[in-house]
């Protein structure tokens, strides 16, 4: 399912809300989530999961084309931990 398919499904299920509001809201939610992580803050959605930043230590890498070594700085990467309800539902889906 892509973002546009998700938007269409939500329009279908929320017909009392203007289609334009549904579309703008979904885009705004994703933007707010990205901004939150960008500010270094966590996202906690009960029953879904939490997003946080994990640190990646600096390392010496290699340019795969030239073989040249490059120093890579430490950085943060987004991390998602599924919540209990999501974990259980996804796993039960498997048994059906």
């Amino acid at each position: 399912m892509t973002k546009s398919e998700l938007i269409e499904k939500l329009m279908d299920k929320n017909q009392h809300i203007a289609a334009r509001d549904v579309e703008l809201s979904i885009k705004e939610m994703l933007e707010q989530m990205a901004q939150t992580l960008q500010k270094g803050e966590r996202i906690e959605i009960r029953g879904f999961g939490s997003f946080s930043l994990h640190f990646r230590a600096p390392r010496v890498g290699r340019n795969p084309k030239t073989g040249e070594t490059v120093k890579l700085d430490g950085k943060y990467v987004p991390h998602f931990k599924p919540g209990k309800e999501l974990r259980e539902r996804v796993n039960e889906g498997l048994e059906l």
């Binding site: 998700l6 809300i17 939610m29 803050e41 966590r42 996202i43 930043l53 987004p78 998602f80 996804v90």
Partner: protein, 101 residues
């Protein structure tokens, strides 16, 4: 302070003027729709943000850490999140706020 559903709904109200009841419903159904897709075995791709993928893990030997008893860990399906390039570059140089859990 972590972002929660209540704050997301409030933000839709403030920024887009969506009424509070609708905003709350939209936030709730947004996450529910993603859960339903994943539950039915479908990957979810949110461009600019990331992909929620499914991985099937086969049964493997495990152990009860308290009793030392051998118990197989059953085959299961798990969700993994792969952040998109855009999100990755946005957070690369972020400093986590505070030292929360």
């Amino acid at each position: 302070m972590a972002l929660t559903k209540a704050e997301m709904a409030e933000h839709l109200f403030l920024k887009l003027g969506v009424n509070k009841r609708d905003a709350k419903e939209l936030v709730e159904s947004f996450f529910e729709e993603i859960r339903e897709a994943l539950e039915s075995g479908e990957q979810v791709k949110l461009s600019g943000f990331g992909n929620f993928d499914l991985r099937t893990k086969s049964e493997r030997p495990g152990r009860n850490p308290k009793t030392g008893e051998d118990i197989p860990i059953k085959a299961r399906r798990v969700v993994t999140f792969r952040p998109g390039q855009k999100l990755k570059s946005r957070v690369e140089e972020s400093k986590p706020a505070g030292s929360d859990s």
